[in-house]
């Protein structure tokens, strides 16, 4: 039943994501958005370094930024489902009652975002390789390690998405930007576009406690054979994977409990079907 709910939710998510326009415009949308996001960093880098892109820093930040799109999109995707279904389509209460597991429903709705983002990541990496001297060679990629790291990272994304969804359940309509804001904080703390060592000392332990720090580091190692943060250089690949596994599972456990807690508050206050549009 749960798998069926997941499949149905994935189908629904795909319908919502793709049926608003023709395939051509959808493809344009799927390319322009991520490439623009990557180019912001590229221009920032160019402006300071005068166009040098051969360094490790550029490669590290480019790859980090590309894969971080999963974080923002999956967090947004899962939390937005609550807001949109509740406020506009007024179907959240029905899904809540009908779906065998709301967790599976929310995760299923994020599948479409995952697929679209995967396309975006591939486009951004391809763009970087073709035009910005990004040192990526398909033959040099450690595919097995990449698959393992990626799977665990997506698990962490789902966990954080569930956290945000829990917040949405008790938040009013103006909460639509929360996931983006929260993703921005993770962007700062997880060494996505600069080495973790650049962060002020009090913030570095916070970054080390977040699974995405290890995820991004692991992805860099899988794709380019090296990471970006000197402070993580002493952590071997297996340890990166192990820490990522443990931290993702821990985050998922916390997220499930948190969502259950928020749901209880919502049921107590009659917020499951509240409409707060203003």
């Amino acid at each position: 039943m749960r798998l069926r709910a997941f499949r149905l939710a994935a189908w629904l998510g795909w319908q919502m994501e793709s049926n608003w326009t023709d395939p051509w415009l959808f493809a344009v949308y799927s390319i322009i958005k991520p490439v623009s996001s990557a180019l912001i960093l590229v221009v920032m880098y160019y402006v300071v370094t005068g166009g040098q892109t051969q360094g490790d820093l550029f490669a590290g930040l480019y790859v980090g930024n590309a894969f971080f799109m999963y974080v923002g999109q999956l967090m947004f995707g899962m939390s937005w489902v609550v807001m949109e279904d509740r406020e506009f389509f007024r179907t959240f209460k029905y899904m809540y009652l009908a779906a065998p597991s709301i967790y599976w429903y929310l995760t299923g709705r994020a599948v479409a975002k995952f697929l679209v983002t995967s396309l975006a990541v591939a486009v951004v990496l391809g763009f970087g390789t073709a035009f910005l001297d990004l040192p990526l060679a398909l033959g040099a990629v450690r595919w097995g390690y990449l698959a393992a790291v990626l799977a665990l990272g997506i698990l962490a994304c789902v966990a954080f998405g569930l956290l945000m969804a829990g917040i949405m359940v008790i938040s009013a309509r103006h909460g639509q930007g929360y996931a983006e804001s929260f993703a921005g904080v993770l962007y700062l703390l997880c060494g996505v576009v600069f080495p973790l060592d650049v962060l002020p000392a009090p913030l570095q332990p916070v970054g080390r406690a977040i699974p995405f720090t290890y995820w991004i580091e692991g992805v860099r190692r899988a794709l380019m054979g090296r990471g970006m943060s000197p402070s993580l250089a002493g952590v071997d690949d297996g340890a990166i994977l192990a820490i990522l596994l443990l931290s993702s599972l821990a985050t998922l456990a916390v997220a499930v409990l948190f969502y259950a807690w928020m749901e209880r508050i919502a049921r107590d206050r009659g917020l499951i079907d509240q409409v707060t549009e203003h």
């Binding site: 608003w20 300071v48 506009f88 909460g175 929360y178 804001s181 993703a183 600069f194 650049v198 707060t276």
Partner: protein, 271 residues
């Protein structure tokens, strides 16, 4: 005429009231809209520090981050608002009232300004203190003036966007979503727009934030010599675009409402 004006002003006030009341009745935004945006902007600050950029670039990032609040307000809480109203079935009730659509939008903008300003000030003031950003005090008033012009032009552009949302619904929503990052890029939210090819930067001038950010940076940050155009010229262009956008918004809202009514899209939900 006076009666008409009074009615429209009342409509602005009433619609703004909804936003302001909504903001204060659920306060989770204080954490998410003030603290977190500052931290996410901090990522670009640390990137510039890691690259060894001049200190004024930190100020550029903070200013860009502050303007993000208004850009997002225009895009999601104003331009797309008719789409949301349609989804929730309110649009029809607004559209049978004898007030200008621009009054309704102005009310939404005014009401949303509070949260946007709180976010912008949080980013700017706290960020400046945290990262030790210096300002040219003699340029502050000019910067404020240019900022207000930018805002007026931006909201005019938002009204033009609202007409498209009213007509095209979800397609417009996704298009706005599509435009978010390209606008950050082309308007130089986080870097001097002069870094882009000149023709591209000039084309991006159609977005008020491009010229607004560039002008404000030149007048408030010491050592800012990487502007696109003279700040006075940029302010003048902003004033012209402000007037142009409002005129365009008036015409676009009428035309697209007419078209929406002709095609039956005005009351069509979930399209």
């Amino acid at each position: 005429m006076l009666e008409e004006l009074e009615r429209n002003l009342r409509a602005v006030r009433a619609r703004a009231y909804v936003r302001v009341v909504g903001t204060f009745r659920e306060l989770s935004w204080v954490a998410f809209e003030i603290a977190m945006p500052l931290l996410s902007v901090g990522a670009y600050v640390f990137l510039y520090r890691a690259l060894g950029a001049p200190e004024r670039y930190i100020g550029y990032v903070l200013l860009g981050g502050a303007m993000t609040a208004y850009w997002l307000n225009v895009l999601w809480s104003m331009a797309s608002q008719f789409y949301w109203e349609k989804q929730s079935g309110q649009l029809e009730i607004f559209f049978i009232t004898p007030v200008s659509r621009m009054s309704i939008l102005a009310g939404m903008a005014a009401g949303g300004m509070f949260m946007s300003t709180a976010r912008a000030l949080g980013t700017l003031v706290l960020g400046s203190w945290l990262f030790g950003v210096q300002y040219r005090m003699e340029g502050i008033w000019a910067g404020l003036g240019i900022f207000l012009l930018t805002l007026a032009a931006l909201y005019g552009l938002g009204m033009v966007g609202a007409s498209l949302f009213m007509m095209y619904g979800r397609e417009a929503w996704h298009t706005a979503n599509l435009l978010q990052e390209p606008i950050y890029l082309l308007s130089g939210f986080y870097f001097p727009v002069r870094a882009l090819p000149r023709w591209l930067a000039a084309a991006a001038g159609i977005i008020p934030i491009t010229l607004g950010l560039d002008a404000i940076r030149q007048v408030v940050f010491p050592g800012a010599v990487d502007g696109l155009l003279d700040p006075g010229l940029e302010a003048a262009l902003l004033a012209v675009s402000c007037a142009a956008y409002f005129v365009l918004a008036h015409a676009a809202l009428r035309k697209l409402e007419d078209l929406a009514k002709r095609e039956g899209r005005l009351t069509l939900r979930w399209q």
